[in-house]
């Protein structure tokens, strides 16, 4: 089982939803691991084998496993205006985008061998057409390993239908086949109002709407902001219990079984 959550923009809610889905699979007794090929962040989590992205550490805990650098093979750390590239926990500033991509693929393959399911997360938007070719984390990755994708649209600032449809339109034709559906995230109002719009997007793209999620207040460690909860093993219980609560809240609003099915294709 493999699935990749991608977003219409940064902050769409990829990390939380992926963590929640890891938790869900775990509750079904599936051995699951998180994965994010490429992460850009000012903070990191230190494992015994080196640094990795904070989001993947939390997702690992949600999966009841230990965080491992291969879950986030490429981490670009922004510190004091300088960029530092960390590959599988080790600092490697000598690699070009293609070798980074190869490293990411082999880490992914390794994870796939060890787990029944991999819940991957894209980076930023998959439709940055000016960066085509240098993409490590999104469509190019999904294409290489035929990973089904689910697009998360943040409705908070409006324009969510445009964001979803535009992202789909800008994907290569063969990548569109991997786009199984979308989720509308951070919604405050009445679901009924969105219905006609969702139906139109489903008809235009053939993607299925897997759910409308409310704005979820959750205290996960922030990757960039200074505040937030400390990303440490001491807080595992806090993270996991929050995710369990969220899962309970969204059951009925999010078609988890449908996503599981898409992940099995």
């Amino acid at each position: 089982m493999r699935i990749m959550f991608v977003g219409t923009s940064s902050n769409a809610g990829k990390t939380t939803i992926a963590a929640m889905f890891c938790r869900y699979l775990r509750s079904k007794a599936v051995m699951v691991s998180p994965f994010k090929a490429f992460n850009m962040s000012s903070k990191s989590f230190m494992t015994e084998n080196g640094e990795m992205g904070i989001g993947q550490a939390v997702q690992a805990w949600a999966s009841d496993i230990k965080p491992n650098v291969r879950m986030n093979p490429v981490l670009v750390k922004v510190a004091g205006g300088k960029l530092k590239t960390i590959v599988n926990g080790e600092e490697r500033n000598d690699l070009d985008r293609n070798s980074l991509f190869e490293h990411a693929l082999s880490s992914f393959d390794e994870i796939c061998e060890r787990y029944d399911a991999v819940v991957a997360e894209g980076s930023g938007s998959p439709a940055e057409i000016n960066l085509r070719g240098s993409d490590i984390a999104n469509a190019r990755f999904a294409r290489s390993r035929k990973i089904p994708m689910i697009l998360i649209g943040n409705i908070e600032k409006g324009g969510v239908f445009a964001g979803i449809y535009g992202t789909w339109l800008l994907m290569e034709k063969e990548d569109r086949d991997l786009m199984k559906g979308f989720i509308i995230n951070k919604y405050y109002g009445d679901d009924g109002i969105l219905k006609s719009g969702i139906e139109e997007i489903e008809a235009l793209t053939g993607m299925k709407c897997f759910g409308i999620l409310p704005y979820m207040k959750i205290m996960l460690p922030e990757e960039d902001a200074g505040d937030g909860v400390q990303c440490s093993e001491d807080n595992i219980d806090t993270f996991v219990s929050q995710l369990d609560k969220l899962l309970e809240e969204v059951s009925g609003r999010l078609d988890l079984e449908g996503i599981m099915k898409a992940a099995s294709e």
Binding site: G7, T8, S9, S10, N11, G124, S125, A127, E128, I129, N130, L131, R132, K157, G158, G159, F161, A162, G163, I164, Y165, G166, T167, L169, L170, G189, D190, I193, L194, K195, S196, G197, I198, E200, I201
Partner: protein
């Protein structure tokens, strides 16, 4: 007959262009032609230009308050040249009225509408619209902003007493318009409790609606009517109408009910620009998705795209821009860099706290529920102060100055302050630091809030205030005020200018803070107890002029003037618009903009 004499003198004098030395300049808009201060065609009785109003002596008179026609430079120049050619010397010459028909035929076209749409909220529509207003104004044209429907708790009062969204008033300043009225924001929606909203229509309170009744009842009837009327009025008045959409125009679930975006564009026959914020990523997708989700007829109106808020090098976008242009057939007008400046906050979601710094005066603004009057603090961002909106008593205890701002519900706010420990924290600071209450905040500072008729709240109530002032606020039917005011600081001298907008009235036993000029002479306003550093007033915009800023900041004992300390906020804002316009002009393909949006239309 004096007018005829004046016109005769104007005819003899000939063309003069703008006259900034005149004390009434600009009577209509900055950059206007002043050759015919007295219009040779008055009263033209052309309802496409002016209107009959009830004069001061109750007689019908012809008003040119909103007519810019005679002040347009090419119009004035042409009239002057024709008067010379025809050898007209007397204002009573019958050929003058023939000349009017000729000039009207030649120059009178409805204003061109340009509409700024956003791919999302916070795309930068307001700033773009303001910058375009200033750019067009600097080219010597009369231009007005317009947002048909604005959802905001931040409103202001026009000089004819209409309540409209603050941001449109501010854009009117960018347009250098003298008399913005309700037409620049005919529908203002203020969020209330439980998803209900209060609708202000044509500057006056109209009623409360829930989402369903708003879209299904209000929009198709009164809403659409008001939008049409305003667009008509503004196109008649100005050469250019720079409209601003709301949210995204591609909300396909409410597309046909949306009178803030493409329906308004259609009514105004506007050419549209789509603004996309680069900051969150996915900008190309949002741009393309928006274009593709517009209905075909609406899509034809979209003539340009602007990418906004770009951090870093815009040339990294080139390949993406080319691809987007070739897919959509719509040119990208430019990429606007991230600017370290902002217009006054539009809603309470983006309260601008600035970072506290040791040497700066720490001003704490209490983050009241349903906070309003957010623009009051704007001038303070140009002083050596840090501003923090807070609901934490700890911040209050560390403040050098405390502001209790306006609120849409003083009683709820008072109770909240009490339960959150804010009231207690503020009372402990009494006498130590200046405490300023504005409008609702002033009411809260008094001894009691009497709402027998349930006007402010949902039920009749009597609430104990903070008791900082010996003052009682009560709500009565038709009480309160909405008006522009000006006056002086009683204790310290110096001007104050602003507006009042409140329900409820306050009777105080304290010394007045301001003396306001009214038709009946000077009138006391507000409460002041300088020995305890306590100040309360209904005047919004009290910090706009430098005098009151300086007066209260001095009381902190830490005041060091900034380069703007002697400058009124209007001047600061004016500079901001010029800077903004420069940045836009440098970043956009201006030839294309002028050709497509300002030139002749097919």
């Amino acid at each position: 007959m004096d007018c005829l004499k004046a016109v005769k003198a104007e005819i003899e004098r000939g063309h003069i262009g703008p006259n900034p030395k005149c004390k009434h300049y600009p009577c209509h808009y900055a950059g206007q032609d002043c050759t015919y201060c007295f219009c040779p065609f008055h009263p033209c009785r052309d309802k496409g230009l002016g209107e009959f109003i009830q004069g001061s002596n109750n007689k019908k008179c012809w008003s040119c308050k909103f007519c810019h026609f005679i002040h347009r430079v090419p119009v004035a120049k042409y009239i002057d040249s024709r008067i010379k050619e025809l050898n007209i010397t007397e204002p009573t010459d019958p050929r003058i009225s023939e000349l009017f028909d000729e000039v009207r035929e030649r120059f009178k076209t409805p204003g061109k509408a340009i509409m700024v749409l956003g791919a999302t909220s916070d795309a930068g529509k307001s700033i773009t619209a303001a910058a375009l207003c200033r750019i067009i104004s600097k080219k010597g044209h009369s231009v007005t902003p317009l947002k048909t429907q604005n959802m905001s708790l931040s409103s202001m009062i026009t000089d004819d007493g209409s309540e409209i969204a603050s941001i449109q008033m501010i854009q009117a300043k960018a347009s250098r318009l003298k008399h913005p009225d309700h037409n620049i924001n005919p529908i203002l929606i203020k969020p209330m409790r439980d998803g209900r909203t209060e609708v202000i229509l044509n500057g006056k309170r109209f009623g409360d609606f829930d989402v369903d009744s708003y879209y299904k009842k209000f929009v198709p009837s009164e809403g659409t009517e008001a939008v049409k009327k305003s667009i008509r009025a503004l196109k008649k008045r100005c050469e250019f109408v720079v409209m601003e959409g709301a949210g995204s125009p591609a909300e396909i679930n409410i597309y046909d009910y949306d009178i803030a975006n493409m329906r308004a564009a259609e009514i105004a026959d506007a050419y549209c620009i789509l603004v996309v914020n680069m900051n969150w990523g996915g900008a190309f997708a949002y741009a393309l998705g928006t274009v593709e989700l517009l209905k075909p007829d609406d899509r034809k109106r979209l003539k340009g795209i602007i990418f906004n808020n770009m951090h870093g090098d815009p040339s990294s976008l080139t390949s993406g821009i080319k691809e987007l242009e070739s897919i959509t057939g719509i040119p990208v007008l430019g990429v606007i860099p991230h600017m370290d400046m902002s217009l006054p906050a539009e809603d309470s979601l983006t309260l601008r706290s600035s970072d506290p710094e040791e040497e700066k005066i720490k001003v704490c603004v209490v983050k009241l529920p349903k906070i309003v009057g957010l623009t009051d603090m704007d001038p303070m961002y140009h002083e050596n102060v840090s501003i923090r909106y807070t609901d934490d008593p700890k911040d209050i205890r560390e403040a050098d100055m405390i502001v209790i701002p306006g609120t849409k519900d003083s009683i709820v706010s008072m109770k909240w302050m009490r339960s959150a420990g804010i009231e207690d924290a503020i009372k402990k600071m009494k006498g130590k630091v200046p405490i300023v209450g504005i409008s609702g905040g002033y009411q809260i500072m008094g001894s009691s809030l009497l709402d027998d008729l349930a006007i402010e709240g949902e039920v009749s109530s009597k609430t104990e205030g903070m008791g900082l002032f010996n003052a009682v606020t009560s709500w009565k039917k038709n009480g309160g005020a909405k008006a522009h005011v000006k006056g002086v600081i009683v204790a310290a001298g110096g001007d104050v200018r602003g507006y009042e907008m409140h329900t409820g009235d306050t009777v105080t036993k304290e010394k007045p803070l301001f003396a306001l000029s009214t038709a009946n002479g000077l009138v006391d306003e507000g409460s002041s107890r300088a020995e305890d550093k306590l100040f309360g007033t209904y005047v919004h915009g009290l910090f706009d002029e430098p005098a009151f800023r300086k007066y209260v900041l001095s009381l902190t004992g830490k005041y060091t003037p900034s380069k703007y300390s002697n400058v009124s906020y209007g001047v600061i804002l004016n500079e901001t618009f010029d800077t903004m316009a420069d940045i836009f002009e440098r970043s956009l393909d201006m030839d294309l903009f002028e050709k497509v949006f300002m030139g002749c239309r097919q």
